[in-house]
């Protein structure tokens, strides 16, 4: 699949995009388009819902039905869209602040309901758009503009949390692992039920700078070097996992999906 295959999905008049040089968001965007293209989805039936944040800008760049909602609420908007018109394929893009701080509740509830949405969380471990404050996914002791002495907040281990909340498909990968990324996105979209893909991505402007990791390139190399698969991680101790990124599929099960269950009621009760 070449760039030409996915360029057709872009709103080219919005380019170049606003993301900083080396920001990982564009890599995720391209991977998403590859996944959509591979699945041969009808663009008229694809909806991309995003929250507010650097990552939230993704919806503006894609020539589908797109909504750039309010901070943290993308999944709630998406729930309304999908429930009102289940024939739409609804993909939800969220930042780590967006999706796990202010939006954390909608995340676990969407997972609990197991509603057929595909949620992608752009985990750059920082609030990018507002200037580098720490997020619920910023590792302990890392620096941020509101953690000048190092972060005392413990981060979520988000993928397992979402699994625990009830999602059907849960995976984590990084912008380095573009092939897996595309594959997980495809699996997530195909899955009937709530899918969650956490993508570790670089924010060189804030996270990289505050924590002396460097530029976008360095952050991708960091991802490469620090990743370890879910299966291998199982046998490691907590210390051994300290600064590792555990990647892989955390959950992939079949279970009753929310809208299908609801439609059974309509079938039974609809007498118009």
């Amino acid at each position: 699949m070449s760039l030409q295959n996915i360029k057709k999905y872009l709103r080219k008049d919005m380019f170049p995009h606003i993301w900083c040089p080396g920001c990982g968001n564009g890599i995720i965007m391209a991977s998403l388009l590859r996944a959509i293209d591979a699945l041969a989805l009808d663009p008229d039936k694809v909806v991309v819902v995003s929250g507010i944040g650097c990552s939230g800008r993704i919806s503006g760049y894609l020539d589908f039905n797109t909504v750039h909602t309010t901070h943290g609420r993308a999944l709630a908007y998406a729930t309304g869209i999908k429930l009102a018109n289940p024939e739409l394929t609804v993909i939800v893009a969220m930042g780590d602040g967006d999706g796990s701080a202010i939006g954390g509740n909608h995340l676990i509830h969407a997972a609990r309901r197991n509603i057929d949405l595909t949620a992608i969380l752009f985990n750059n471990s920082i609030y990018g758009m507002t200037g580098g404050q720490f997020s619920p996914l910023t590792p302990f002791e890392k620096r941020a503009s509101t953690a000048p002495y190092g972060n005392v907040d413990h981060p979520f281990d988000l993928a397992p949390l979402v699994k625990s909340a009830g999602a059907s498909f849960v995976a984590r990968t990084t912008t380095f692992h573009v092939f897996n990324l595309q594959k997980y996105l495809e699996r997530g979209i195909k899955k009937k039920g709530f899918s969650f893909i956490e993508v570790i991505t670089g924010c060189p402007t804030f996270y990289g700078r505050y924590n002396k990791i460097g530029e976008g390139l360095d952050m991708i190399k960091y991802q490469k070097e620090h990743s370890i698969t879910y299966d291998r991680a199982k046998n490691l101790s907590e210390e051994e996992l300290a600064d590792k990124i555990v990647v892989g599929v955390f959950q992939d099960i079949e279970k009753p999906e929310y809208i299908s269950e609801y439609e059974k009621i309509i079938e039974r009760e609809h007498h118009e």
Partner: protein
């Protein structure tokens, strides 16, 4: 897809009006095909070394790199 027998690369197209010079393609290319130009944008320096791994295209955050194969498509 990326696993199929690699076709020969005919041309690597870099959209310099989108490229922001992050250097990811340059740094991640396994065979040092790419380099910075004077405006700090990526350019192709050694096409002949290209092994068509497409990492540059896949990892470019600006969707600015297109690795174009010689045969079909």
């Amino acid at each position: 897809m990326a696993l199929k027998a690699k076709a020969k690369v005919d041309h690597i197209d870099i959209n310099t009006s989108w490229c922001k010079g992050c250097g990811i393609c340059i740094g991640m290319c396994p065979t040092q095909v790419l380099e910075f130009d004077e405006r700090f944008k990526a350019r192709v320096a050694h096409l002949e070394k290209c092994i068509n791994c497409k990492l540059c295209e896949l990892l470019c955050p600006e969707l600015a790199v297109s690795v174009e194969e010689a045969e079909n498509e």
